[in-house]
Protein backbone atom coordinates (compact mmCIF):
# COMPACT_ATOMS: atom_id res chain seq x y z
CA UNK A 1 0.00 0.00 0.00
CA UNK A 2 1.09 3.56 -0.70
CA UNK A 3 0.88 5.97 2.17
CA UNK A 4 0.77 9.72 1.79
CA UNK A 5 2.79 11.72 4.26
CA UNK A 6 -0.22 13.68 5.43
CA UNK A 7 -2.28 10.62 5.95
CA UNK A 8 0.35 9.03 8.16
CA UNK A 9 0.73 12.15 10.24
CA UNK A 10 -3.00 12.40 10.51
CA UNK A 11 -3.28 8.89 11.81
CA UNK A 12 -0.70 9.49 14.49
CA UNK A 13 -2.37 12.77 15.44
CA UNK A 14 -5.70 11.03 15.81
CA UNK A 15 -4.21 8.30 17.96
CA UNK A 16 -2.82 10.95 20.26
CA UNK A 17 -6.16 12.73 20.37
CA UNK A 18 -7.80 9.54 21.53
CA UNK A 19 -5.15 8.86 24.14
CA UNK A 20 -5.35 12.42 25.42
CA UNK A 21 -9.13 12.44 25.46
CA UNK A 22 -9.34 9.26 27.44
CA UNK A 23 -6.63 10.14 29.92
CA UNK A 24 -8.53 13.33 30.57
CA UNK A 25 -11.83 11.47 30.83
CA UNK A 26 -10.30 9.24 33.44
CA UNK A 27 -9.01 12.21 35.35
CA UNK A 28 -12.35 14.00 35.25
CA UNK A 29 -14.01 10.88 36.48
CA UNK A 30 -11.58 10.55 39.37
CA UNK A 31 -12.23 14.17 40.26
CA UNK A 32 -15.96 13.44 40.43
CA UNK A 33 -16.69 15.80 37.57
CA UNK A 34 -18.57 13.16 35.64
CA UNK A 35 -20.85 10.47 36.90
CA UNK A 36 -21.99 7.25 35.36
CA UNK A 37 -19.48 4.96 33.84
CA UNK A 38 -17.05 4.98 30.93
CA UNK A 39 -15.01 2.45 29.05
CA UNK A 40 -11.54 3.47 28.02
CA UNK A 41 -9.84 2.19 24.92
CA UNK A 42 -6.35 3.26 25.89
CA UNK A 43 -4.03 0.77 24.19
CA UNK A 44 -6.48 0.11 21.36
CA UNK A 45 -6.00 3.35 19.42
CA UNK A 46 -4.50 1.67 16.38
CA UNK A 47 -7.62 -0.34 15.90
CA UNK A 48 -10.00 2.62 15.81
CA UNK A 49 -7.73 4.81 13.73
CA UNK A 50 -6.55 2.12 11.36
CA UNK A 51 -10.09 1.06 10.63
CA UNK A 52 -11.80 4.42 10.26
CA UNK A 53 -8.97 5.93 8.25
CA UNK A 54 -9.67 3.29 5.62
CA UNK A 55 -13.16 4.72 5.06
CA UNK A 56 -14.42 7.59 3.00
CA UNK A 57 -15.57 10.61 4.96
CA UNK A 58 -19.18 9.95 4.00
CA UNK A 59 -19.15 6.33 5.12
CA UNK A 60 -20.88 5.27 8.30
CA UNK A 61 -19.63 3.87 11.56
CA UNK A 62 -21.51 1.98 14.28
CA UNK A 63 -19.62 2.00 17.53
CA UNK A 64 -19.68 0.40 20.97
CA UNK A 65 -19.66 1.18 24.67
CA UNK A 66 -15.88 1.52 24.26
CA UNK A 67 -16.39 4.04 21.55
CA UNK A 68 -14.44 7.25 22.22
CA UNK A 69 -11.74 6.18 19.80
CA UNK A 70 -14.13 5.35 16.98
CA UNK A 71 -15.86 8.66 17.46
CA UNK A 72 -12.68 10.71 17.38
CA UNK A 73 -11.34 8.73 14.44
CA UNK A 74 -14.59 9.50 12.60
CA UNK A 75 -13.78 13.18 12.95
CA UNK A 76 -15.89 14.24 15.88
CA UNK A 77 -15.55 17.71 17.29
CA UNK A 78 -13.80 17.15 20.63
CA UNK A 79 -15.57 20.06 22.22
CA UNK A 80 -18.96 18.57 21.64
CA UNK A 81 -17.71 15.14 22.59
CA UNK A 82 -16.30 16.35 25.87
CA UNK A 83 -19.46 18.33 26.50
CA UNK A 84 -21.49 15.17 26.00
CA UNK A 85 -19.19 13.29 28.33
CA UNK A 86 -19.86 15.96 30.92
CA UNK A 87 -23.61 15.90 30.30
CA UNK A 88 -23.84 19.38 28.87
CA UNK A 89 -26.45 20.87 26.55
CA UNK A 90 -23.75 21.57 23.95
CA UNK A 91 -22.84 17.90 23.75
CA UNK A 92 -23.55 15.74 20.74
CA UNK A 93 -26.65 14.36 22.42
CA UNK A 94 -27.50 17.46 24.45
CA UNK A 95 -26.22 15.65 27.53
CA UNK A 96 -28.86 12.94 27.24
CA UNK A 97 -26.50 10.24 25.99
CA UNK A 98 -23.21 10.45 27.82
CA UNK A 99 -20.11 8.40 27.17
CA UNK A 100 -21.97 5.28 26.13
CA UNK A 101 -24.24 6.92 23.58
CA UNK A 102 -22.26 9.58 21.81
CA UNK A 103 -23.51 9.84 18.26
CA UNK A 104 -22.55 12.24 15.50
CA UNK A 105 -25.11 11.33 12.89
CA UNK A 106 -24.20 14.24 10.65
CA UNK A 107 -20.60 13.04 10.68
CA UNK A 108 -21.57 9.46 9.90
CA UNK A 109 -21.15 8.12 13.43
CA UNK A 110 -24.45 6.38 14.11
CA UNK A 111 -23.69 6.04 17.74
CA UNK A 112 -21.89 4.28 20.52
CA UNK A 113 -24.03 1.57 22.06
CA UNK A 114 -24.63 0.50 25.62
CA UNK A 115 -25.73 -2.92 24.53
CA UNK A 116 -22.99 -5.37 23.71
CA UNK A 117 -23.65 -6.44 20.13
CA UNK A 118 -26.39 -3.84 19.84
CA UNK A 119 -24.86 -2.29 16.76
CA UNK A 120 -24.67 -5.53 14.79
CA UNK A 121 -28.33 -5.82 13.77
CA UNK A 122 -28.33 -2.08 13.09
CA UNK A 123 -25.52 -2.61 10.62
CA UNK A 124 -27.79 -4.92 8.63
CA UNK A 125 -30.36 -2.16 8.39
CA UNK A 126 -27.88 0.52 7.48
CA UNK A 127 -26.28 -1.73 4.89
CA UNK A 128 -29.65 -2.65 3.47
CA UNK A 129 -30.73 0.97 3.32
CA UNK A 130 -27.52 2.00 1.56
CA UNK A 131 -27.95 -0.79 -0.95
CA UNK A 132 -31.59 0.07 -1.62
CA UNK A 133 -30.72 3.72 -2.00
CA UNK A 134 -28.01 2.67 -4.45
CA UNK A 135 -25.52 4.80 -2.58
CA UNK A 136 -21.82 4.08 -2.71
CA UNK A 137 -21.23 4.39 1.01
CA UNK A 138 -20.51 1.51 3.31
CA UNK A 139 -20.88 0.95 7.03
CA UNK A 140 -18.14 -0.15 9.41
CA UNK A 141 -19.52 -1.91 12.46
CA UNK A 142 -17.30 -2.19 15.53
CA UNK A 143 -17.87 -4.74 18.27
CA UNK A 144 -15.88 -6.65 20.86
CA UNK A 145 -14.79 -10.23 21.30
CA UNK A 146 -17.57 -10.57 23.85
CA UNK A 147 -20.19 -9.43 21.35
CA UNK A 148 -19.13 -12.20 19.00
CA UNK A 149 -20.85 -14.70 21.29
CA UNK A 150 -24.19 -12.98 21.26
CA UNK A 151 -26.95 -14.12 18.96
CA UNK A 152 -26.98 -10.67 17.40
CA UNK A 153 -23.61 -11.41 15.82
CA UNK A 154 -24.89 -14.55 14.14
CA UNK A 155 -28.07 -13.10 12.74
CA UNK A 156 -26.37 -9.94 11.53
CA UNK A 157 -23.46 -11.62 9.79
CA UNK A 158 -25.72 -14.12 8.11
CA UNK A 159 -28.16 -11.51 6.85
CA UNK A 160 -25.41 -9.22 5.62
CA UNK A 161 -23.80 -12.16 3.82
CA UNK A 162 -26.85 -13.50 2.02
CA UNK A 163 -27.80 -10.03 0.82
CA UNK A 164 -24.22 -8.99 0.06
CA UNK A 165 -24.59 -5.82 2.07
CA UNK A 166 -21.89 -3.13 2.16
CA UNK A 167 -20.79 -3.81 5.71
CA UNK A 168 -17.39 -4.31 7.29
CA UNK A 169 -17.66 -6.13 10.60
CA UNK A 170 -14.76 -5.22 12.81
CA UNK A 171 -14.23 -7.24 15.94
CA UNK A 172 -11.88 -5.62 18.41
CA UNK A 173 -10.60 -8.62 20.24
CA UNK A 174 -9.03 -7.11 23.32
CA UNK A 175 -8.85 -10.51 25.00
CA UNK A 176 -11.58 -9.97 27.55
CA UNK A 177 -15.27 -9.37 27.89
CA UNK A 178 -15.12 -7.69 31.27
CA UNK A 179 -13.45 -10.53 33.22
CA UNK A 180 -14.04 -13.39 30.82
CA UNK A 181 -10.99 -14.29 28.80
CA UNK A 182 -11.73 -14.91 25.17
CA UNK A 183 -9.94 -18.23 25.64
CA UNK A 184 -12.73 -19.36 27.93
CA UNK A 185 -15.48 -17.76 25.88
CA UNK A 186 -14.84 -19.51 22.60
CA UNK A 187 -13.39 -22.90 21.74
CA UNK A 188 -11.49 -21.76 18.65
CA UNK A 189 -8.36 -19.78 18.05
CA UNK A 190 -9.50 -16.83 15.95
CA UNK A 191 -12.83 -15.06 15.94
CA UNK A 192 -12.19 -14.26 12.28
CA UNK A 193 -12.58 -17.96 11.55
CA UNK A 194 -16.27 -17.56 12.21
CA UNK A 195 -16.54 -15.72 8.92
CA UNK A 196 -16.53 -19.08 7.15
CA UNK A 197 -19.85 -19.92 8.76
CA UNK A 198 -21.39 -17.12 6.73
CA UNK A 199 -19.45 -17.46 3.54
CA UNK A 200 -17.54 -14.22 3.95
CA UNK A 201 -13.81 -13.50 4.16
CA UNK A 202 -12.32 -13.43 7.65
CA UNK A 203 -9.04 -11.74 8.44
CA UNK A 204 -7.10 -11.56 11.69
CA UNK A 205 -5.04 -8.40 11.92
CA UNK A 206 -2.55 -7.07 14.45
CA UNK A 207 -4.77 -4.56 16.15
CA UNK A 208 -1.83 -2.69 17.61
CA UNK A 209 -0.44 -1.97 14.16
CA UNK A 210 -2.39 0.90 12.70
CA UNK A 211 -1.27 0.22 9.16
CA UNK A 212 -2.15 -3.46 9.34
CA UNK A 213 -5.65 -2.62 10.47
CA UNK A 214 -5.92 0.05 7.81
CA UNK A 215 -4.92 -2.39 5.13
CA UNK A 216 -7.33 -5.09 6.21
CA UNK A 217 -10.22 -2.66 6.41
CA UNK A 218 -9.31 -1.06 3.10
CA UNK A 219 -9.65 -4.37 1.34
CA UNK A 220 -12.89 -5.18 3.07
CA UNK A 221 -14.22 -1.71 2.35
CA UNK A 222 -13.46 -2.02 -1.37
CA UNK A 223 -15.13 -5.36 -1.45
CA UNK A 224 -18.19 -3.95 0.28
CA UNK A 225 -18.30 -0.92 -1.99
CA UNK A 226 -18.10 -3.07 -5.09
CA UNK A 227 -21.16 -4.99 -4.02
CA UNK A 228 -19.23 -8.16 -3.19
CA UNK A 229 -20.57 -8.22 0.34
CA UNK A 230 -19.38 -8.05 3.92
CA UNK A 231 -16.18 -9.18 5.61
CA UNK A 232 -15.22 -9.98 9.16
CA UNK A 233 -12.02 -8.52 10.49
CA UNK A 234 -10.61 -9.38 13.85
CA UNK A 235 -8.32 -6.76 15.25
CA UNK A 236 -6.27 -8.30 18.02
CA UNK A 237 -5.48 -5.77 20.71
CA UNK A 238 -5.65 -5.12 24.43
CA UNK A 239 -7.16 -2.61 26.82
CA UNK A 240 -4.74 -1.25 29.35
CA UNK A 241 -7.31 0.03 31.77
CA UNK A 242 -9.95 -1.86 33.69
CA UNK A 243 -13.20 -2.75 31.99
CA UNK A 244 -14.98 0.36 33.18
CA UNK A 245 -14.64 2.97 35.89
CA UNK A 246 -13.99 0.36 38.55
CA UNK A 247 -12.23 -2.92 38.04
CA UNK A 248 -9.94 -4.68 40.50
CA UNK A 249 -8.22 -6.57 37.66
CA UNK A 250 -8.76 -9.84 39.49
CA UNK A 251 -8.93 -11.73 36.21
CA UNK A 252 -5.54 -10.89 34.68
CA UNK A 253 -1.97 -10.51 35.69
CA UNK A 254 0.15 -7.44 35.92
CA UNK A 255 2.69 -9.17 33.70
CA UNK A 256 0.17 -9.61 30.97
CA UNK A 257 -0.77 -5.96 31.12
CA UNK A 258 2.86 -4.88 31.06
CA UNK A 259 3.64 -7.11 28.12
CA UNK A 260 0.87 -5.46 26.12
CA UNK A 261 1.89 -1.99 27.21
CA UNK A 262 5.27 -2.73 25.73
CA UNK A 263 3.46 -3.05 22.42
CA UNK A 264 1.92 0.41 22.68
CA UNK A 265 0.35 1.17 19.30
CA UNK A 266 1.28 4.83 19.45
CA UNK A 267 4.91 4.24 20.32
CA UNK A 268 5.23 1.56 17.69
CA UNK A 269 3.79 3.77 15.01
CA UNK A 270 5.85 6.77 16.08
CA UNK A 271 9.04 4.71 16.02
CA UNK A 272 8.21 3.51 12.57
CA UNK A 273 7.51 6.98 11.22
CA UNK A 274 10.71 8.29 12.72
CA UNK A 275 12.66 5.37 11.37
CA UNK A 276 11.42 5.86 7.84
CA UNK A 277 11.99 9.59 8.01
CA UNK A 278 8.36 10.70 7.90
CA UNK A 279 8.72 12.38 11.25
CA UNK A 280 11.34 13.73 13.60
CA UNK A 281 11.26 13.21 17.35
CA UNK A 282 10.36 16.85 17.68
CA UNK A 283 7.46 16.58 15.22
CA UNK A 284 6.17 13.63 17.17
CA UNK A 285 6.41 15.46 20.42
CA UNK A 286 4.62 18.42 18.98
CA UNK A 287 1.77 16.24 17.77
CA UNK A 288 1.40 14.77 21.21
CA UNK A 289 1.41 18.15 22.89
CA UNK A 290 -1.10 19.54 20.45
CA UNK A 291 -3.45 16.68 21.18
CA UNK A 292 -3.36 17.32 24.90
CA UNK A 293 -3.92 21.02 24.25
CA UNK A 294 -6.95 20.31 22.08
CA UNK A 295 -8.36 18.19 24.87
CA UNK A 296 -7.74 20.89 27.44
CA UNK A 297 -9.63 23.32 25.25
CA UNK A 298 -12.45 20.80 24.96
CA UNK A 299 -12.66 20.58 28.72
CA UNK A 300 -12.77 24.35 28.96
CA UNK A 301 -15.55 24.41 26.37
CA UNK A 302 -17.48 21.70 28.17
CA UNK A 303 -17.05 23.21 31.60
CA UNK A 304 -18.28 26.58 30.45
CA UNK A 305 -21.22 25.05 28.64
CA UNK A 306 -24.70 25.14 30.14
CA UNK A 307 -26.48 22.17 31.68
CA UNK A 308 -29.65 21.05 29.94
CA UNK A 309 -32.63 22.92 31.34
CA UNK A 310 -34.96 20.86 33.48
CA UNK A 311 -37.98 22.14 31.57
CA UNK A 312 -36.68 20.37 28.48
CA UNK A 313 -36.50 16.98 30.15
CA UNK A 314 -39.35 15.45 28.17
CA UNK A 315 -38.26 16.77 24.80
CA UNK A 316 -37.28 14.53 21.95
CA UNK A 317 -38.91 11.24 22.90
CA UNK A 318 -41.11 11.48 19.83
CA UNK A 319 -40.51 13.20 16.52
Amino acid sequence: MEWSHDKLIDMLRTMWLIRAFEEKAEELYALGKVHGTMHLSIGQEASAVGAVSALRADDFVLSTHRGHGHCIAKGADLNRMMAEFMGKETGYCRGRGGSMHIADTAGGNLGANGVVGGGLPLAVGVGLGLKMQKRSQIVLCFFGDGAANNGAFHEALNMAAIWKLPVVFLCENNQYAISLSVKKAIAIEHIADRAAAYGMPGITADGNDVLAVHEAVSQAASRAREGAGPSLIESVTYRWRGHSKSDANRYRTRDEIEAWKARCPIQRFTARLIADGTLTEEDADKLRQEAYAVVEAAVAFAESSPEPRLETIEEGVYA
Binding site: T105, G125, V126, G316
Partner: protein, 328 residues
Protein backbone atom coordinates in the same frame (compact mmCIF):
# COMPACT_ATOMS: atom_id res chain seq x y z
CA UNK B 1 -69.16 1.45 0.18
CA UNK B 2 -67.05 -1.44 -1.03
CA UNK B 3 -66.41 -4.08 1.64
CA UNK B 4 -63.07 -5.81 1.97
CA UNK B 5 -61.39 -7.82 4.69
CA UNK B 6 -59.07 -6.55 7.39
CA UNK B 7 -56.20 -8.43 5.72
CA UNK B 8 -57.04 -6.86 2.37
CA UNK B 9 -57.28 -3.43 3.94
CA UNK B 10 -53.79 -3.82 5.36
CA UNK B 11 -52.48 -5.05 2.03
CA UNK B 12 -54.10 -2.12 0.27
CA UNK B 13 -52.48 0.34 2.63
CA UNK B 14 -49.10 -1.29 2.03
CA UNK B 15 -49.58 -1.24 -1.71
CA UNK B 16 -50.72 2.36 -1.84
CA UNK B 17 -47.92 3.57 0.33
CA UNK B 18 -45.28 1.62 -1.57
CA UNK B 19 -46.52 3.13 -4.81
CA UNK B 20 -46.48 6.60 -3.32
CA UNK B 21 -43.20 6.50 -1.46
CA UNK B 22 -40.25 4.50 -2.65
CA UNK B 23 -38.61 4.63 0.75
CA UNK B 24 -41.23 2.18 1.98
CA UNK B 25 -40.37 -1.51 1.86
CA UNK B 26 -41.53 -4.73 3.48
CA UNK B 27 -39.31 -7.14 5.34
CA UNK B 28 -40.03 -10.27 7.32
CA UNK B 29 -40.22 -14.03 7.25
CA UNK B 30 -42.08 -15.46 4.25
CA UNK B 31 -43.58 -12.12 3.28
CA UNK B 32 -42.75 -12.78 -0.38
CA UNK B 33 -44.35 -15.48 -2.55
CA UNK B 34 -45.76 -17.12 0.55
CA UNK B 35 -47.58 -13.91 1.38
CA UNK B 36 -46.97 -14.11 5.11
CA UNK B 37 -48.47 -16.61 7.51
CA UNK B 38 -51.89 -15.03 7.13
CA UNK B 39 -51.66 -14.05 3.49
CA UNK B 40 -51.52 -10.34 4.23
CA UNK B 41 -48.68 -9.55 1.85
CA UNK B 42 -49.85 -11.83 -0.96
CA UNK B 43 -49.17 -10.38 -4.36
CA UNK B 44 -46.91 -7.57 -3.23
CA UNK B 45 -43.66 -9.22 -4.25
CA UNK B 46 -45.13 -9.65 -7.73
CA UNK B 47 -45.76 -5.93 -7.96
CA UNK B 48 -42.74 -4.55 -6.14
CA UNK B 49 -40.11 -7.25 -6.58
CA UNK B 50 -37.81 -8.96 -4.09
CA UNK B 51 -35.85 -5.73 -3.55
CA UNK B 52 -38.81 -4.17 -1.78
CA UNK B 53 -40.51 -7.24 -0.38
CA UNK B 54 -37.74 -9.00 1.44
CA UNK B 55 -37.88 -12.53 2.80
CA UNK B 56 -35.62 -12.96 5.79
CA UNK B 57 -34.13 -15.92 7.62
CA UNK B 58 -35.68 -16.72 11.00
CA UNK B 59 -33.83 -13.88 12.69
CA UNK B 60 -36.27 -11.72 14.61
CA UNK B 61 -33.55 -9.65 16.25
CA UNK B 62 -32.05 -9.17 12.82
CA UNK B 63 -35.37 -8.04 11.36
CA UNK B 64 -35.78 -5.49 14.14
CA UNK B 65 -32.24 -4.28 13.52
CA UNK B 66 -32.81 -4.15 9.79
CA UNK B 67 -35.80 -1.85 10.10
CA UNK B 68 -34.16 0.29 12.75
CA UNK B 69 -30.92 0.74 10.85
CA UNK B 70 -32.63 1.37 7.54
CA UNK B 71 -34.99 3.88 9.13
CA UNK B 72 -32.02 5.65 10.66
CA UNK B 73 -30.66 6.47 7.21
CA UNK B 74 -33.88 7.57 5.62
CA UNK B 75 -35.90 4.53 4.66
CA UNK B 76 -39.43 3.83 5.93
CA UNK B 77 -39.51 0.07 6.47
CA UNK B 78 -42.52 -2.01 7.37
CA UNK B 79 -41.29 -5.06 9.22
CA UNK B 80 -43.29 -8.11 10.08
CA UNK B 81 -42.85 -10.46 13.01
CA UNK B 82 -44.82 -13.55 12.09
CA UNK B 83 -46.43 -13.99 15.51
CA UNK B 84 -46.36 -11.48 18.32
CA UNK B 85 -44.92 -14.18 20.57
CA UNK B 86 -41.67 -13.93 18.60
CA UNK B 87 -41.27 -10.27 19.40
CA UNK B 88 -39.69 -11.75 22.51
CA UNK B 89 -36.64 -12.30 20.32
CA UNK B 90 -36.62 -8.76 19.00
CA UNK B 91 -37.13 -6.75 22.16
CA UNK B 92 -33.53 -5.63 22.49
CA UNK B 93 -33.49 -3.77 19.20
CA UNK B 94 -37.05 -2.50 19.51
CA UNK B 95 -36.77 -1.30 23.08
CA UNK B 96 -33.13 -0.42 23.67
CA UNK B 97 -32.35 0.90 20.21
CA UNK B 98 -35.36 1.96 18.11
CA UNK B 99 -37.42 3.43 20.92
CA UNK B 100 -34.56 5.30 22.56
CA UNK B 101 -32.35 6.48 19.72
CA UNK B 102 -34.13 9.76 19.17
CA UNK B 103 -34.08 10.84 22.80
CA UNK B 104 -30.68 9.34 23.55
CA UNK B 105 -29.09 11.14 20.61
CA UNK B 106 -30.52 14.45 21.78
CA UNK B 107 -33.29 14.55 19.17
CA UNK B 108 -30.92 14.33 16.23
CA UNK B 109 -32.23 11.16 14.60
CA UNK B 110 -35.55 9.61 13.72
CA UNK B 111 -36.50 5.97 13.37
CA UNK B 112 -39.61 5.88 11.21
CA UNK B 113 -40.70 2.29 10.91
CA UNK B 114 -43.78 0.18 11.38
CA UNK B 115 -43.57 -3.27 12.87
CA UNK B 116 -46.65 -5.31 12.02
CA UNK B 117 -47.42 -8.39 14.05
CA UNK B 118 -50.45 -10.63 14.56
CA UNK B 119 -51.56 -11.28 18.13
CA UNK B 120 -54.33 -13.15 19.82
CA UNK B 121 -55.81 -16.58 20.32
CA UNK B 122 -58.63 -18.45 18.69
CA UNK B 123 -56.81 -20.41 16.03
CA UNK B 124 -55.78 -23.40 18.12
CA UNK B 125 -52.14 -22.45 17.93
CA UNK B 126 -51.64 -22.80 21.70
CA UNK B 127 -49.39 -21.10 24.22
CA UNK B 128 -46.51 -19.95 22.05
CA UNK B 129 -48.49 -18.55 19.12
CA UNK B 130 -51.40 -16.76 20.78
CA UNK B 131 -50.11 -14.05 23.08
CA UNK B 132 -51.20 -10.44 23.24
CA UNK B 133 -48.20 -8.54 24.50
CA UNK B 134 -49.14 -5.00 23.53
CA UNK B 135 -48.79 -3.60 27.03
CA UNK B 136 -45.09 -4.37 26.98
CA UNK B 137 -44.71 -1.88 24.14
CA UNK B 138 -47.09 0.63 25.69
CA UNK B 139 -44.63 0.70 28.59
CA UNK B 140 -41.75 1.81 26.37
CA UNK B 141 -41.35 5.56 25.77
CA UNK B 142 -40.49 6.26 22.17
CA UNK B 143 -42.75 3.59 20.71
CA UNK B 144 -46.28 4.12 19.49
CA UNK B 145 -48.74 1.25 19.67
CA UNK B 146 -51.70 0.81 17.35
CA UNK B 147 -54.40 -1.88 17.46
CA UNK B 148 -57.06 -1.59 14.78
CA UNK B 149 -60.37 -3.35 15.23
CA UNK B 150 -61.94 -2.86 11.80
CA UNK B 151 -60.81 -2.98 8.16
CA UNK B 152 -61.45 0.76 7.91
CA UNK B 153 -59.24 1.55 10.87
CA UNK B 154 -56.63 -0.94 9.76
CA UNK B 155 -56.06 0.81 6.46
CA UNK B 156 -56.29 4.35 7.79
CA UNK B 157 -54.13 3.71 10.82
CA UNK B 158 -51.49 1.84 8.84
CA UNK B 159 -51.11 4.73 6.42
CA UNK B 160 -50.70 7.08 9.38
CA UNK B 161 -48.25 4.73 11.01
CA UNK B 162 -46.04 4.46 7.93
CA UNK B 163 -46.01 8.23 7.55
CA UNK B 164 -45.26 8.78 11.22
CA UNK B 165 -41.66 9.62 12.05
CA UNK B 166 -41.54 7.29 15.03
CA UNK B 167 -41.30 3.53 15.45
CA UNK B 168 -44.84 2.18 15.54
CA UNK B 169 -45.86 -1.28 16.72
CA UNK B 170 -48.91 -2.25 14.71
CA UNK B 171 -50.79 -5.10 16.37
CA UNK B 172 -53.19 -7.06 14.21
CA UNK B 173 -55.57 -9.77 15.37
CA UNK B 174 -55.54 -13.14 13.65
CA UNK B 175 -59.29 -13.62 13.93
CA UNK B 176 -59.95 -10.24 12.38
CA UNK B 177 -58.07 -10.92 9.14
CA UNK B 178 -61.10 -12.42 7.45
CA UNK B 179 -63.61 -9.94 8.82
CA UNK B 180 -65.08 -7.66 6.18
CA UNK B 181 -66.08 -4.04 6.44
CA UNK B 182 -66.44 -0.89 4.37
CA UNK B 183 -63.14 0.60 3.22
CA UNK B 184 -62.75 3.53 0.81
CA UNK B 185 -60.61 2.75 -2.21
CA UNK B 186 -58.69 5.99 -2.07
CA UNK B 187 -56.00 6.55 0.49
CA UNK B 188 -57.13 8.17 3.74
CA UNK B 189 -55.63 8.31 7.17
CA UNK B 190 -56.96 7.71 10.63
CA UNK B 191 -54.78 9.84 12.88
CA UNK B 192 -52.75 8.11 15.57
CA UNK B 193 -53.85 9.01 19.06
CA UNK B 194 -57.56 9.36 18.42
CA UNK B 195 -60.10 7.02 19.98
CA UNK B 196 -63.44 6.39 18.38
CA UNK B 197 -66.80 5.98 20.03
CA UNK B 198 -67.93 2.98 18.03
CA UNK B 199 -71.39 2.96 19.58
CA UNK B 200 -73.15 5.49 21.74
CA UNK B 201 -75.00 4.69 24.92
CA UNK B 202 -75.63 6.22 28.30
CA UNK B 203 -75.67 3.37 30.77
CA UNK B 204 -72.16 2.04 30.70
CA UNK B 205 -68.88 2.71 28.94
CA UNK B 206 -67.11 -0.30 27.49
CA UNK B 207 -63.51 0.46 26.59
CA UNK B 208 -62.30 -2.36 24.40
CA UNK B 209 -59.34 -3.03 22.14
CA UNK B 210 -58.84 -5.00 18.94
CA UNK B 211 -61.16 -7.97 18.53
CA UNK B 212 -62.85 -7.11 21.82
CA UNK B 213 -64.34 -4.04 20.16
CA UNK B 214 -66.23 -6.35 17.81
CA UNK B 215 -67.35 -8.60 20.62
CA UNK B 216 -68.35 -5.61 22.72
CA UNK B 217 -70.44 -4.21 19.89
CA UNK B 218 -72.23 -7.50 19.55
CA UNK B 219 -72.73 -7.61 23.30
CA UNK B 220 -74.03 -4.04 23.23
CA UNK B 221 -76.66 -4.92 20.64
CA UNK B 222 -77.87 -7.75 22.81
CA UNK B 223 -77.73 -5.64 25.96
CA UNK B 224 -79.89 -3.06 24.22
CA UNK B 225 -82.66 -5.65 24.11
CA UNK B 226 -82.56 -5.72 27.88
CA UNK B 227 -82.65 -1.96 28.05
CA UNK B 228 -78.95 -1.45 28.73
CA UNK B 229 -77.37 1.06 26.38
CA UNK B 230 -73.63 0.58 26.26
CA UNK B 231 -71.22 3.08 24.81
CA UNK B 232 -68.30 1.31 23.15
CA UNK B 233 -65.05 3.24 22.99
CA UNK B 234 -62.16 1.95 20.89
CA UNK B 235 -58.86 3.64 21.73
CA UNK B 236 -57.40 2.37 18.41
CA UNK B 237 -54.03 3.79 19.41
CA UNK B 238 -52.92 2.53 22.79
CA UNK B 239 -49.99 4.90 22.84
CA UNK B 240 -50.43 7.80 22.59
CA UNK B 241 -53.79 7.26 24.24
CA UNK B 242 -56.74 9.54 23.62
CA UNK B 243 -57.58 9.87 27.30
CA UNK B 244 -60.05 12.69 26.77
CA UNK B 245 -62.53 10.66 24.75
CA UNK B 246 -62.50 7.85 27.28
CA UNK B 247 -62.85 10.13 30.26
CA UNK B 248 -65.64 12.10 28.62
CA UNK B 249 -67.61 8.92 28.07
CA UNK B 250 -67.13 7.69 31.61
CA UNK B 251 -68.21 11.05 33.00
CA UNK B 252 -71.47 10.57 31.14
CA UNK B 253 -72.17 6.93 31.98
CA UNK B 254 -70.61 6.60 35.44
CA UNK B 255 -69.78 2.96 34.81
CA UNK B 256 -66.86 1.44 33.01
CA UNK B 257 -66.05 -2.01 31.78
CA UNK B 258 -62.61 -2.52 30.29
CA UNK B 259 -62.27 -5.44 27.90
CA UNK B 260 -59.11 -6.84 26.38
CA UNK B 261 -57.79 -10.19 25.33
CA UNK B 262 -54.35 -9.98 26.93
CA UNK B 263 -53.89 -11.55 30.34
CA UNK B 264 -55.52 -9.47 33.00
CA UNK B 265 -52.58 -8.99 35.35
CA UNK B 266 -50.14 -6.38 34.17
CA UNK B 267 -52.18 -5.71 31.05
CA UNK B 268 -53.33 -2.55 29.33
CA UNK B 269 -56.56 -2.65 31.30
CA UNK B 270 -54.57 -1.55 34.32
CA UNK B 271 -53.40 1.50 32.45
CA UNK B 272 -56.94 2.33 31.39
CA UNK B 273 -58.28 1.83 34.91
CA UNK B 274 -55.56 4.03 36.34
CA UNK B 275 -56.15 6.77 33.79
CA UNK B 276 -59.85 6.78 34.63
CA UNK B 277 -59.46 6.42 38.40
CA UNK B 278 -56.94 9.25 38.42
CA UNK B 279 -59.01 11.62 36.32
CA UNK B 280 -62.00 13.89 36.83
CA UNK B 281 -64.14 10.90 35.84
CA UNK B 282 -63.45 9.53 39.33
CA UNK B 283 -66.13 11.78 40.75
CA UNK B 284 -68.66 10.47 38.28
CA UNK B 285 -68.03 6.79 38.91
CA UNK B 286 -71.06 5.00 40.33
CA UNK B 287 -69.38 1.64 40.60
CA UNK B 288 -65.98 0.05 40.78
CA UNK B 289 -64.02 -0.15 37.54
CA UNK B 290 -64.32 -3.62 36.11
CA UNK B 291 -61.68 -5.30 34.00
CA UNK B 292 -62.67 -8.24 31.85
CA UNK B 293 -59.56 -9.73 30.33
CA UNK B 294 -57.77 -12.89 29.35
CA UNK B 295 -57.24 -15.32 32.18
CA UNK B 296 -53.80 -15.41 33.72
CA UNK B 297 -52.88 -18.62 31.99
CA UNK B 298 -50.91 -19.55 28.86
CA UNK B 299 -53.41 -20.14 26.04
CA UNK B 300 -54.36 -23.82 26.08
CA UNK B 301 -54.64 -25.91 22.92
CA UNK B 302 -57.98 -27.59 23.59
CA UNK B 303 -60.67 -25.74 21.69
CA UNK B 304 -63.06 -25.31 24.61
CA UNK B 305 -60.37 -24.27 27.04
CA UNK B 306 -58.95 -21.88 24.48
CA UNK B 307 -62.37 -20.34 23.90
CA UNK B 308 -62.86 -19.74 27.60
CA UNK B 309 -59.39 -18.30 28.12
CA UNK B 310 -60.38 -14.90 26.80
CA UNK B 311 -63.55 -12.79 26.97
CA UNK B 312 -66.38 -13.83 24.69
CA UNK B 313 -69.61 -12.00 23.91
CA UNK B 314 -71.51 -13.74 26.69
CA UNK B 315 -68.84 -12.81 29.21
CA UNK B 316 -69.07 -9.18 28.20
CA UNK B 317 -72.85 -9.21 28.48
CA UNK B 318 -72.70 -10.82 31.91
CA UNK B 319 -70.10 -8.37 33.18
CA UNK B 320 -71.97 -5.36 31.85
CA UNK B 321 -75.18 -6.62 33.37
CA UNK B 322 -73.58 -7.11 36.78
CA UNK B 323 -72.04 -3.69 36.60
CA UNK B 324 -75.25 -1.92 35.65
CA UNK B 325 -77.41 -3.83 38.06
CA UNK B 326 -75.01 -3.19 40.85
CA UNK B 327 -73.93 -6.70 41.76
CA UNK B 328 -70.34 -6.13 40.73
Amino acid sequence: MREITYAEAIREALREEMRRDERVFIIGEDVGVYGGSFGVTLGLIEEFGPQRVIDTPISELGIAGAITGAALIGMRPVGEIMFMDFCTLAMEQLVNQAAKIRFMFGGKATVPFVLRTPAGSGTGAAAQHSQSLENWFVHVPGLKVVMPSTPYDAKGLLLSAIRDDNPVIFVEHKLLYKVKGPVPEDPYTVPLGTAEVKRQGGDITIVATSIMVRRSLEAAERLAHEGIEAEVVDPRTLKPLDEATIIRSVCRTGRVLIVHEACRTGGFGGELAAVIAGSEAFDYLDAPIVRLAGRDIPIPYNRTLEYHSVPQVDDIIAAARRLVHGAA
